[in-house]
């Protein structure tokens, strides 16, 4: 019997090893400069594998749940107590949220506030996860055909998971917030109720808790402060829930609300920030209050004599005494009048 492990002494390499090494180095540099070719190949490969992944996904997810249940069965009692306590606390917060939502709605109606940009969402299913040393990603079953495009935010029911960074026709790759290459601008809102929004950059480092960077040294963070997307740069919508601040030995990190390892169904937010249009004249507070529109402000004192003298027009109409509620002029900055709420009603 031939010794299969016997060493062959000569190699019939078609290319000398040195040339192949040089080609590999060129490939690294080329990939750094322009990796569109690699991305297209990856998207094509994932599109081709999508039917298989979708078929295999269900039994694999069931197996994961089964494995998870083995470990969780020992902590059912503690989890039950914890969930009951959390449920009671959340009911209180729900009542608070309902009251605040109504108040905000009234204020918006009074101000005729410009609504936030509308966002369409694409529901997608996670058909694959990859945990590689230099990339943490998940693959969705929605691609360009479903209008899931690179740069769009991916959310689950609790918060933001990541961003789409590569889209095929039927599949998308999501770069997770925990990934080494993930950097998003965020806003930190103090949990103590102080109206302070602190800008920062949240950077992934392949750990479960991304790092908060670029935080001003003059501000003080506290564990439990809320972290949301800031919308700076216009790539992501503002206000997406991300997580809460946790203290680290060296700095501050973010405990994410979403759990990318358990997410099964996610939403890809199709965010395209439209240009903000000024409200129509009929929607302005003064017109809505029944006041006459102001004439255009007089031109600056003409250095050249006007052809026809224009009578001076007061910049603001003087309220007639006694001022009716509807006649109270709204300040120019849009702050509602004290009894403007009654006017709106």
């Amino acid at each position: 019997m031939a010794n299969a492990w016997k060493i062959a002494r000569k190699s019939n390499a078609q290319l000398p090893l040195v040339i192949v090494i040089a080609l590999a180095v060129v490939l690294v540099l080329l990939g750094k400069a322009q990796n569109g070719l690699f991305d297209r190949a990856r998207a094509g490969a994932t599109d081709a594998m999508a039917p298989v992944l979708e078929k295999v996904h269900a039994p694999v997810a069931a197996f994961e749940r089964w494995i998870g249940s083995i470990f969780e069965i020992f902590s059912v009692y503690e989890q039950n107590l914890k969930l009951k306590e959390e449920n009671a606390r959340l009911r209180q917060w729900r009542n608070v949220a309902i009251v605040l939502q109504g108040r905000v709605g009234r204020y918006q109606a009074l101000l005729h506030a410009v609504p936030d940009p509308q966002m369409d969402g694409v529901l997608a299913r996670v058909i694959g996860r990859a945990n590689r040393p230099f990339l943490q990603t998940m693959i969705l079953d929605a691609g360009r055909n479903q209008h899931a495009l690179p740069g769009e935010a991916v959310m689950d029911a609790r918060g933001m998971i990541g961003r789409v960074y590569l889209s095929g026709q039927r599949t998308s790759w999501v770069i997770l917030l925990t990934d080494l290459n993930s950097r998003i601008p965020v806003t930190i809102t103090a949990s103590s109720g102080k109206a302070s929004n602190i800008p920062a950059i949240m950077t992934g480092d392949n750990s479960k808790l991304p790092v908060l960077e670029m935080v001003s040294r003059t501000v003080t963070l506290h564990a439990g402060d809320q972290v949301t997307s800031s919308g700076d740069g216009g790539l992501l919508p503002a206000g997406l829930p991300v997580g809460t601040v946790v203290a680290d030995g060296e700095g501050w990190r973010v405990s994410l609300l979403a759990d990318a390892t358990e997410a099964q169904d996610v939403e890809v937010l199709n965010f395209a920030k439209p240009p903000e249009k000024p409200p129509a004249a009929a929607e302005l507070p003064m017109q809505a209050a029944g006041l006459k529109p102001l004439p255009p402000p007089p031109s600056a004192p003409a250095q050249t004599a006007p052809v026809t003298p224009v009578p001076p027009v007061p910049a603001k109409p003087k309220p007639v005494a006694p001022p009716p509620a509807a006649a109270v002029p709204a300040p120019a900055d849009g702050t509602p009048a004290p009894d403007a709420e009654a006017v709106d009603r």
Binding site: A13, L15, V25, G31, K32, A130, T261
Partner: protein, 183 residues
Amino acid sequence: MATMERTGAQPRFRNFAGLVPLLTGLFLVVIANTPISLLAGLVPSPLLGLVPIYFWCLVRPDLMTPIAVMAIGLAEDILSGGPPGVWTLAFVLTYALVARQRDSFAGLSGVAAVVGFAGAALFACVMAYLTVAALALLSPNGHLPPLLPIVSELAMTVLFYVPTALVVGWLHRRLVGASRGDI
């Protein structure tokens, strides 16, 4: 082409046998990078493509050529989603190391053979890490990648070496065989 005569392959498979190392490497890369994890992504998938490179570099370097190694590394780069070219360079450099130290590696057996492969895998992971670190430092605000994921990848690769090597060895005996000069 004198070494194309082999003991394990049937005559009708002789042409095909020359492609077995490359196809095995590509197949294992696809298997390893299938984005399905039974442990919810808690551990990285192993570098299965490195096993046939190591194996056939020792026993049939005429079939596991540098260009075949490059093709396997390229497949790993495309399917793993990381920075392009990193694993290509790491695999090719590891191949060069193993080919240079072939006598030392091929003389190992048993646990020592696993240790030998672990050394080669360690070299590949170190090369990949250094490449990514260099790329990161070239980028503005670049960070050094953490060490733990690559160490986990190395551990998984070594852990999966024995079962993968058994399959590769079986394929070698059934389809490839030793070259005529080695008999």
